[in-house]
């Protein structure tokens, strides 16, 4: 199988996976009682009306009396045409709500991801090269500190120090400043720092241990014997094989971190991003928005896995297409 065929097959597989997830979501939703219908029935009962009739009317209004397959097709059409409904908890369309959230999340998550991916392996390889020296211990200590301290707590402490005591960053996140401006960079510096310290630890440790394997490998001895500079030896010969197992860790972990840590950090710093949109939708039982967010994260995860598999084959030519 050639590279082109492999990519095509992999992309199609991703589409199938997304389709299966979307279908399962539909079945779960169809099986669950609709809160709107229950609410209508309760209200009718409170006002002395007929709960059964009110429930029936509510079902009719929402098209729930249609046969399952009709609703399924309708649902599929809506999902893939991005007609995701109205978010009651925010009084705006679901897609707008998600886009707004993503807009603010991207502003800190892009620098966060880039810094983690750049700094993590660098520090790791550096640690491995100076293994058990004080530099290694310092880097390891830093990594473990960032990994161990809860993001939200670290965030509050830094906000207290830099926002309240030193007064160098604003406490209330200002959405009115332009994306590419000094003011925005300043107000995002602490959240990004907190997130990077939180995520860099794992990446750094994995790359340290992985690269430790390679620095005494035969190809390194050869490279050194041939007079390759230490920089090239580490940056090229050690880094590349290290990145293969790392890439699985990075994509998987960052996706998991995305929702989890970003919610807490968004809460502390008042950033109206995707984590808060999703969390508040759950709290407010805003079914449309919860579903929309679920689908969005599903698509991101499927897409992330796709990219990861493709990157694999580029990084390590030994990985064959045929087995997959």
């Amino acid at each position: 199988m050639g590279f082109g065929t492999y990519v095509t097959a992999r992309v199609m597989w991703a589409a199938v996976v997304s389709f299966i997830i979307v279908t399962i979501t539909f079945l779960l939703l169809a099986a669950a009682p609709n809160p709107d219908v229950q609410r209508a029935a309760t209200q009718a009962a409170l006002q002395g009306g007929d709960p059964a009739a009110a429930a029936e009317r509510a079902r009719e209004l929402r098209g729930l009396n249609e046969p399952l397959h009709v609703r399924y097709l309708d649902y599929l059409r809506s999902v893939y045409t991005l007609d995701w409904g109205w978010a009651d908890s925010r009084s705006q369309p679901v897609t707008t709500a998600l886009a707004e959230g993503l807009y603010y999340t991207a502003q800190y998550s892009v620098p966060w991801t880039i810094l983690t991916i750049l700094l993590g392996p660098l520090v790791g390889v550096y640690s491995a090269a100076n293994m058990y020296s004080w530099k290694d211990h310092l880097a390891t200590g830093f990594a473990f500190f960032g990994y161990a301290i809860p993001n939200f707590f670290f965030g509050i402490i830094l906000l207290l120090i830099f926002g309240v005591w030193l007064d160098v960053i604003p406490v209330v996140y200002d959405t009115s400043v332009p994306v590419f401006s000094v003011a925005n960079a300043v107000q995002l510096s602490i959240p990004v720092f907190v997130l990077v310290t939180g995520s860099i630890g794992a990446v750094m440790r994995v790359s340290r241990n992985e690269s430790a394997e390679f620095q005494h490998a035969a190809f390194m001895k050869t490279a050194k014997a041939k007079g390759v500079s230490p920089l090239r030896a580490y940056a090229y010969h050690v880094m590349r094989p290290t990145l293969v197992p790392l890439s699985t860790t990075i994509v998987g972990q960052l996706l998991a971190l995305f929702l989890g840590s970003s919610l807490l950090v968004e809460k502390v710093f008042g950033i109206p991003g995707l984590g808060r949109v999703t969390y508040n939708a759950l709290i407010a039982q805003d079914t449309n928005l919860v579903l929309g967010a679920t689908l969005a994260f599903t698509f991101i995860a499927v897409f992330g896995n796709l990219i990861e598999d493709l990157v694999f084959t580029v990084l390590d030519p030994r990985i064959s297409y045929d087995d997959r």
């Binding site: 009962a45 925010r90 009084s91 707004e100 603010y104 926002g163 959405t175 710093f269 008042g270």
Partner: protein
């Protein structure tokens, strides 16, 4: 332990009950726990707790449980013994311990809101007090408020009948909060809870009929059966045609509630708000904020920005559908409602004045200088009448104010006046907030009314963004960022500048160029913003009162609230899991609990002095609070 019925103790019981009766006077007759019980052959309990002391106990017309004479081990145990005399089961004291008929020490659980420090401290304090004064072992448990509401506090409405006060009563309209008689209970069993507090409605106490209008009241999760004629007294209050008649009825209700302790009333909390110290205007009054257009920083000149923070985002700013207080404030910056209440809790007309002869027919007189934004023109009586008749009273729109206008007949009487006729007279109608209307242009509503399009009305952009606000508010809305909050610009045309009533400063208000409400979910961040001056006002948690009181960058105001902190005791079938029967159903036992929990220590220790003792279902500053004896 054993119980030995003896003639002597039985007689003692009678004597003490008669003394009570004479102390209570006529109104207290039906309220007295002891006199409604059958004279069975129950005896007193023996045991180390002793059997003396109870004959001197006098509970007045308006008892104040938990302070002075009505606080402590002796009075609590005396009342508990009274309760046990009326119980069908052999509860009693063994040494210091309260014991079940099986001889085990009574063990109860108490739930508090998970993650809320004050709630937890209060539960722990109650546990200590009940152990010390009544010998009850209390286990304190945390629970999420929503979960408590769904599984413990509410139940499937089942209805049924039961004998209450000697009368056969039927639950004809059961609700989740009062699903039926005491035999109808929630999914999960529970004994006691401090998870929820309730409103005491001091401006319009009639609203409290939702809690106490007989055993079948709409909201009665604990299954309380009044032993006084609550239904009759609320009816008297409803029919009253004078303030005095009204007060008389309410005072009687509140005296009875003080005696019966349907919920064990503990404290009424103050709201603590930190302000920019240079801000002139905030007052320690329930109506704080009513005169916001006169608030200013330093000299009364227009300058700067008034920035506040909110703990939660707004789900809608559509005035027709909003039910959240926070969003109400955000809308209020842009759009005034009909009226408000001033520092003396007196009616103050904003958009319209209201008057009545007998409480049945109310006349609304609009100001004549009100205009919507283009193209909607002047605000007239037709807009309000249309809003009420075609929207609030429709069967499709289901607005937030729909229930307020049920059964009210509205009629336009002039270009700037209309009148409303109520089904039953209500002297306190404005105080119920029911006749509070937002001005909405008729032309904006008409298309939705014609097609009965409720979703369209909810999602209308002009309503959501308040684009029609004209000169009807202090500011105009610049932007509503769903996650981040709202920003405003001063409205130079504000109608309030041209009115005769109110503070002179209204003529130049508001005194800020801009305003904003930022959504900051993290409390530490909100407080940080207050300290750095990024926010001009923010709520302060009681445990940080001291540090902010000493902070020069913040002025703290204690604003009284009508919201209470109560100990709810489950009088339904699944309450009192420790043994047979349910002593919570016995008034004297609830009195014992109320007497066992010291209010002074609670206020000083947990609320740092920032709360008032709560004896009956009204705050002390209410005009309907029973008078001092």
């Amino acid at each position: 332990m054993s119980r030995q019925p003896t003639i002597g103790s039985k007689t003692d019981g009678r004597v003490s009950r008669r003394r009570w009766l004479s102390a209570l006077g006529v109104t207290g007759l039906s309220a007295l726990a002891g006199c409604s019980g059958e004279e069975g052959d129950e005896g007193d309990t023996d045991g180390g707790g002793g059997d003396g002391g109870d004959t001197d106990l006098i509970i007045g017309e308006f008892p104040r449980f938990g302070v002075d004479d009505l606080y402590g081990e002796t009075v609590a145990r005396t009342l508990a013994r009274k309760a046990f005399e009326q119980s069908d089961h052999d509860y009693g004291f063994d040494g210091d311990d309260m014991v079940t008929p099986d001889g085990n020490q009574v063990e109860l659980d108490i739930y508090h809101s998970a993650g809320q420090e004050t709630s937890q401290l209060m539960a722990e304090y109650i546990g200590q007090e009940l152990e010390k004064n009544l010998g009850i072992v209390v286990s304190v448990e945390a629970i999420d408020g929503t979960r408590f509401n769904n599984e413990y506090w509410t139940a499937e409405p089942a209805g049924g009948t039961d004998t209450v006060n000697g009368e056969e009563i039927e639950w004809t309209r059961p609700t989740p909060q009062n699903p039926g008689p005491q035999s109808v209970a929630s999914n999960e069993a529970w004994d006691m809870s401090v998870v929820f507090g309730l409103n005491t409605y001091p401006l319009n106490p009639l609203t409290n009929e939702a809690f106490f209008d007989g055993a079948t009241a709409a909201y009665n999760p604990v299954g309380y059966y009044p032993e006084f004629d609550a239904t009759g007294l609320f009816e008297t209050a409803r029919q009253a045609t004078s303030r005095d008649g009204l007060r008389e009825a309410f005072v009687e209700i509140f005296e009875n509630l003080a005696r019966e302790q349907p919920y064990i009333m503990l404290v009424l909390g103050d709201d603590l708000v930190g302000y920019n110290p240079e801000l002139n205007g905030p007052s320690e009054n329930f109506s704080n904020g009513w005169d916001f257009p006169a608030w200013h920083v330093g000299d009364p000149t227009v300058s700067g920005s008034y920035d506040t923070v909110s703990a939660a985002g707004f789900s809608t700013l559509n005035p027709l559908y909003n039910t959240e207080a926070g969003a109400g404030t955000a809308v209020g910056r842009v759009l005034d409602q009909g009226y408000t209440f001033d520092d003396d809790q007196e009616y103050f007309p904003l958009l319209y004045d209201m008057s009545t002869e007998n409480g049945e027919v109310w006349t609304f007189d609009l100001r004549e200088n009100l205009t919507f934004s283009d193209p909607y023109g002047r605000v007239t009586a037709a807009d309000f009448v249309y809003l009420v008749q075609a929207v609030h009273q429709s069967d499709w729109a289901n607005t937030a104010a729909a229930l307020s206008w049920e059964g009210v007949e509205v009629e336009r009487t002039g270009e700037f006046s209309f009148q409303a006729t109520l089904e039953t007279p209500a002297l306190l109608w404005p105080q119920s907030y029911d006749p509070l209307l937002y001005p909405i242009p008729r032309a904006l509503l008409e298309p939705y009314v014609e097609s009965e399009d409720v979703e369209g009305l909810q999602q209308d952009e002009e309503l959501l963004e308040l684009q029609f606000s004209g000169n009807l508010g202090a500011f105009t809305l610049d932007e509503w960022n769903r996650g981040a909050g709202t920003t405003y610009t001063r409205n130079d045309e504000y109608y309030l500048r041209d009115i005769d009533e109110g503070p002179d400063r209204f003529a130049d208000g508001p005194f800020f160029e801009e305003a904003s409400i930022s959504v900051v979910e993290e409390q530490a961040s909100r407080l940080g913003a207050l300290e750095t001056g990024e926010a001009d006002a923010a709520g302060i948690p009681p445990e940080q009162f001291q540090s902010y009181e000493e902070n020069e960058d913040v002025t703290v105001r204690e604003i009284p609230t009508p919201y209470n902190r109560i100990l709810s005791v489950n009088q339904r079938a699944n309450g009192w899991q420790t043994g047979p029967g349910n002593p919570f159903q016995i008034t004297a036992f609830r009195q014992a609990l109320a007497a066992a929990i010291g209010k002074k220590d609670l206020i000083q220790g947990i609320y740092r002095g920032l709360a008032d003792a709560h004896f009956t279902w009204q705050p002390r500053w209410s005009t309907f609070y029973p008078g001092e004896e």
